[in-house]
């Protein structure tokens, strides 16, 4: 079996940003994403998910290394300063590299 290295980018942010982040993903070259609602706490206090307006969403995308770098840079430049959010990169291995 042949596993291929990829990057998993994870973004945890305010729910209102979901659509914008997904757009950004597409622009940077991601071919898919997965999202779900979470609750959490961080620098900007507790985010409880009882109102969409104050909830969090977690967005995952598996992408090529170059895309990951571009994506994180863009998130940093466009959104990090103003919104409650974090983003990080993990190494993963997949079977069908052409899919991502």
């Amino acid at each position: 079996m042949n596993l291929h290295p990829m990057k998993l980018v994870t973004i945890i942010c305010e729910s209102v940003l979901e659509e914008r982040v997904v757009e950004l993903l597409r622009e940077c070259g991601a071919h898919g994403h997965t999202a779900f609602d979470v609750r959490g706490s961080g620098n900007q206090g507790q985010r409880s998910a009882d109102m969409l307006e104050s909830g969090n969403v977690k967005i995952n995308a598996i992408v090529k290394p170059a895309v990951s770098e571009l994506l994180l840079q863009k998130l940093h430049d466009d959104l990090f300063k103003s919104y409650a959010m974090i983003a990080y990169e993990t190494d993963v291995r997949v079977l069908r590299p052409q899919k991502f």
Binding site: L17, R20, A49, D50, L52, E53, L79
Partner: protein
């Protein structure tokens, strides 16, 4: 019934008491927690029901009776930010973004405050124009657009631009957001299906309505209660603003209501709408288009100060004012 009796009877209604219970649950850090989907479900129900009932009323009253007060309501909503913004800038020393954000919230409206007011009127058998939910529908968006433009400095030649992704999303949400869509959509449906339609869905949209509101206010109480801790952070000025603004806007609304020919009940409702501050449509749209505004300011003021003030004291107050005006 004088003002004190009115306030007292309002405070002892199940809806208000459930709100208090919610605040207590949050403050006492009980493990009571509503499932995340329940808040949205109840919102959908309340908006749909209030819209539908308003539509049936329009069907009966005819559009002719509705357009003038609706236009007046809409105008009032769009104008409110024009004076709250400078007040917040000058007296409150807020940044442009923050002042625009708060102005947008206070010009826009709160559906639940409106519903609580109709319940109050119903409980004291005070008639009102049932198509008043049309005012609610048209007052939601204008203030958001005006507030965001102010916050972007557009009126001072600033950088308000449709090519900004945040602004684009925000405008769409302000105009076509779920609140407006459900309200206006259900209203059109009510107007089209009329009394016969109402007969078929009354058991869902009317019978349990007040109880559902009580349950929703329990949750709102928890949401507001969790924000009480932020009161210190927003500063004394905003605390005062959170009570003064509804007083001023409420009186304006009542006066305007009387002027465009609404009954005592209807004028009360227009007052309540003007006095209320949005915490559904405005927060999302403002967050996207004025990212530098601190949401703690606007949400805490709207949810933890103005909302409780209106549903406890404001509603009976504006009603008394409307009575005096019509006497």
């Amino acid at each position: 019934m004088d003002l004190l009796t009115a306030i007292q009877s309002n405070l002892l209604s199940p809806a208000i008491l459930f709100f208090a219970l919610g605040v207590f649950a949050a403050v006492s850090k009980s493990d009571l927690k509503f499932p995340e989907s329940l808040y949205t479900t109840l919102t959908i129900y309340l908006l749909t029901a209030i819209g539908f009932k308003g539509g049936v009323a329009i069907n009966e009253a005819g559009l002719g009776a509705v357009w003038l007060p609706a236009l007046a309501a809409m105008g009032l909503g769009g104008l409110i930010p024009l004076w709250t913004y400078p007040v917040l800038r000058k007296l409150g020393k807020f940044s442009m973004a923050d002042a625009g954000a708060i102005a947008a919230h206070y010009g826009s409206v709160s559906a639940v405050t409106f519903i609580a007011a109709t319940n109050f009127l119903k409980s004291i058998n005070q008639p009102y124009e049932s198509y008043a939910s049309a005012f609610l529908a048209v007052m939601e968006s204008p203030a958001i657009i005006v507030g965001v433009m102010l916050g972007k400095g557009a009126l001072g030649g600033g950088k308000f631009s449709l090519s900004d992704a945040g602004v684009r999303h925000a405008l769409r949400d302000a105009v076509l957001g779920k609140g407006v869509l459900l309200l206006i959509g259900a209203m059109v449906i009510g107007a089209l299906s009329g009394k016969r339609g109402m007969a078929s869905v009354e058991g869902f949209f009317v019978t349990p309505f007040q109880g559902v509101l009580a349950l929703f206010l329990l949750e709102m109480g928890m949401v507001a209660g969790k924000r009480l801790g932020d009161l210190k952070r927003v500063g004394l000025f905003l605390l005062l603003f959170g009570v003064t603004a509804p007083l001023v806007h409420g009186c304006l609304g009542v006066l305007l209501g009387g002027w465009v020919g609404l009954s005592t009940g209807g004028a009360t409702l227009l007052g309540v709408l003007a006095a209320s501050a949005s915490y559904i449509a405005a927060p999302a749209a403002v967050r996207l288009s004025l990212p530098d505004a601190n949401p703690t300011y606007s949400l805490t003021a709207a949810l933890a100060i103005t909302f409780p003030f209106n549903i406890t004291v404001g509603i009976p107050l504006f009603f008394e004012l409307a009575k005096i005006l019509h006497a």
